[in-house]
């Protein structure tokens, strides 16, 4: 293959990576922005979303003999709701009792990471399993064929992103969230139930990761250790984009997803990961407000 088409293929892969990364990183950024909680268990919500999607779609297709598309749509509805419910229980039982103290919540979410991951290992097992894609359609370009489903994932992520943006900037719930993010104490003084906002935001963050996972699971397999890489990448994205800045997170996810897709096509993936992790750590040290974020108040 010539260089041009090769680059196009790498760009498609990068866009796919960016689409999923945007959804997971947005969840992490939302939770950090509003609650000031660094959720180390975020990757496990992603993993849980994929595993539940496998369960639901297998159940639907084996019990009712439905086509894969029905199972997939069922998974797209059930899995985020289930993950959101689990996240909300965790938030009520653990994070709320810690008063959202930054250090304690980090330790607690590390604990939640292991609890979720190892519970999945106990029930789902160590195997990697794939969910059937809802449709198979190859788009035939002059140089290579490309999966239509991958392009569907990219479009779906873009639509979801617009929905999140609309909720945050144009609805009452979004206004309440932004008020809580800006100054929780004053928001409370104005009668906003920040307690409920927090558990809603935590669940919403986990659901975004779960939706990303359901979309990705026909392309990559569901496995109990699949949460670590998205966690680190989301961290990187949120830091580069500026902690708590949603617009920055989206731009950074595009940047990182694209460059990661392209770099790992051309260079050793380990070296690419080493360099990008190091660079990001240095960004956090020397420009802690991120590349796009505002200075901390």
């Amino acid at each position: 293959m010539a260089f041009g088409p090769f680059l196009l293929l790498a760009t498609f892969e990068g866009l796919l990576q960016a689409a999923i990364l945007t959804l997971t990183a947005l969840g992490l950024s939302l939770v950090f922005g509003v609650m000031r909680v660094v959720n180390v268990a975020h990757g496990e919500f992603y993993m849980l979303g994929a595993v539940i999607a496998w369960w639901v779609s297998t159940f639907v297709s084996s019990m009712f003999g439905m086509p894969p598309a029905v199972g997939f749509i069922a998974a797209l509805i059930v899995s985020p709701l289930a993950v959101g419910a689990i996240a909300m229980v965790g938030e009520r039982l653990i994070l709320k009792r810690l008063n959202y103290n930054p250090e304690s919540t980090i330790v607690a979410t590390i604990g939640m990471l292991y609890i979720i991951q190892q519970s999945v290992l106990l029930t789902y097992g160590p195997d990697a399993r794939r969910v059937a894609a809802p449709f198979y359609y190859r788009i035939q370009l002059p140089w290579f064929g490309y999966s239509g489903y991958n392009l569907f994932v990219i479009a779906a992520a873009a639509v979801l992103l617009l929905i999140v943006w609309f909720i945050l900037s144009r609805t009452r719930i979004g206004l309440i969230m932004r008020a809580t993010q800006f100054d929780a104490e004053t928001a409370q003084a104005f009668g906003i139930p920040i307690d409920r906002v927090y558990s809603l935001v935590f669940a919403a963050g986990a659901m975004l990761a779960a939706i990303g996972a359901v979309l990705v699971v026909p392309i990559r397999q569901a496995h109990y250790l699949m949460g670590l890489d998205p966690l680190l990448l989301s961290f990187i994205t949120v830091i580069i984009g500026g902690l708590g800045s949603l617009r920055g997170t989206v731009i950074a996810a595009l940047l990182i997803g694209l460059s990661d897709g392209i770099i790992s096509v051309f260079f050793s993936p380990t070296l690419a990961k080493m360099i990008s992790t190091l660079l990001v750590a240095l960004v956090l040290v020397f420009k802690p407000e991120g590349l796009f974020g505002a200075k901390a108040r």
């Binding site: 660094v38 653990i94 009792r97 810690l98 930054p102 250090e103 304690s104 980090i106 330790v107 607690a108 590390i110 604990g111 939640m112 990471l113 292991y114 609890i115 979720i116 991951q117 190892q118 519970s119 290992l121 106990l122 160590p126 680190l232 961290f235 990187i236 830091i239 050793s268 380990t270 070296l271 990961k273 080493m274 992790t277 190091l278 990001v280 750590a281 240095l282 956090l284 040290v285 020397f286 802690p288």
Partner: protein, 320 residues
């Protein structure tokens, strides 16, 4: 009064070391080996505690210091054939240099950013060990050659394949670490570090250069952790990338939290308790890390001061 407390502290710590010394005559072989590992890991946790417990800086990257000691000692013994004492010093030295550099860079941040930065540097360190897999053999690791299993020092021959010698060597190093920790935390440096933990702006106002003090804490903590890594490599003759994973950073945190952050003997108690808990859990299920997760959540919710921290709060206010 103060004099008697001073001697109570010294007697308590000597008694703890003596207890460990006597234990080797009682314990069956399996537990003797387990306790050897516990003591080495306890040194690691004590190093961690210096930073987390006394200075109040939560690092999620101490596995890189442990690994610096492990590889510094192991690789020089493996490739250059350095004798055990020299390789040991090399391990400590590489930990010292690494922690100094990491401290200089990462201490520009604080709070949550410090945790994330240390975690990322540790991830880079881990990726480095797997990237140079031609030399380190990555996750699979290297087994040190027979030549690195014995050494002569001051005219005495030491054979590291002897379980008794390994137990007592790690006990000596543990005792040294306890002594160093006691000296530091009861001295002026330790009190300044605690002051930073309690209220950093006020410490600055009192005229302390807190950056320099925190840098000393990171370097001390990293060097002690590296000593544990070097000891582990040389006693058990194995080095692998598994020791550089984030799981080891988290275990150091867990050991310290369980035993009691900010107490000298806490990390030892916590390491022993958690080691045996994991040991028992792993005989029942492959998902033994579930025990780690549950322990972390329960500790942070109901028992944030740990075992010795609670004892100090209730009964023994003089416990260092």
């Amino acid at each position: 009064m103060i004099q008697s407390r001073q001697s109570a502290v010294i007697i308590l710590h000597i008694a703890a070391i003596l207890l460990l010394f006597v234990l080797q005559f009682v314990l069956p072989d399996y537990h003797q080996l387990a306790m050897t590992r516990v003591m080495v890991l306890a040194i690691f946790a004590m190093g961690y505690n210096m930073l987390f417990g006394y200075t109040g800086l939560l690092s999620l990257g101490h596995a890189m210091f442990f690994a610096a000691g492990l590889y510094g000692a192991g690789l020089t013994a493996y490739y250059f054939g350095w004798s055990v004492p020299v390789a040991f010093v090399a391990g400590i030295g590489s930990g010292f240099v690494l922690s100094l550099v990491i401290g200089l860079v990462s201490l520009r941040t604080s709070g949550v950013a410090f945790m994330i930065v240390t975690m990322m540097f540790a991830q880079v360190a881990y990726l480095t060990t797997t990237y140079f897999t031609d030399y380190t053999r990555g996750e699979e690791g290297l087994v040190l050659p027979q030549a690195a299993r014995s050494f002569d020092l001051l005219g005495v021959h030491f054979d590291l394949t002897s379980a008794v010698l390994r137990y007592n060597l790690s006990l000596v190093l543990l005792a040294a670490t306890v002594a160093i920790t006691l000296l530091i935390v009861r001295g002026p440096l330790g009190r300044a570090l605690v002051a930073i933990r309690e209220n950093e702006p006020r410490t600055v106002m009192l005229g302390y250069d807190t950056f320099r003090l925190k840098l000393m804490a990171v370097t001390l903590s990293g060097t002690i952790s590296a000593m544990a890594g070097a000891t582990y490599a040389l006693l058990f003759a194995y080095i692998g990338a598994g020791f550089a994973t984030i799981q080891y950073s988290i275990e150091a945190l867990l050991f310290t939290l369980l035993g009691g952050a900010g107490t000298v003997l806490g990390p030892l108690v916590g390491t022993a308790a958690m080691f045996y808990l994991i040991d028992i859990a792993s005989s029942y299920t492959v998902a033994y890390m579930l025990a780690v997760g549950i322990a972390l959540v329960l500790l942070v919710l109901f028992f944030p001061k740990g075992i010795l921290g609670t004892i100090r709060e209730r009964w023994l206010p003089w416990l260092p």
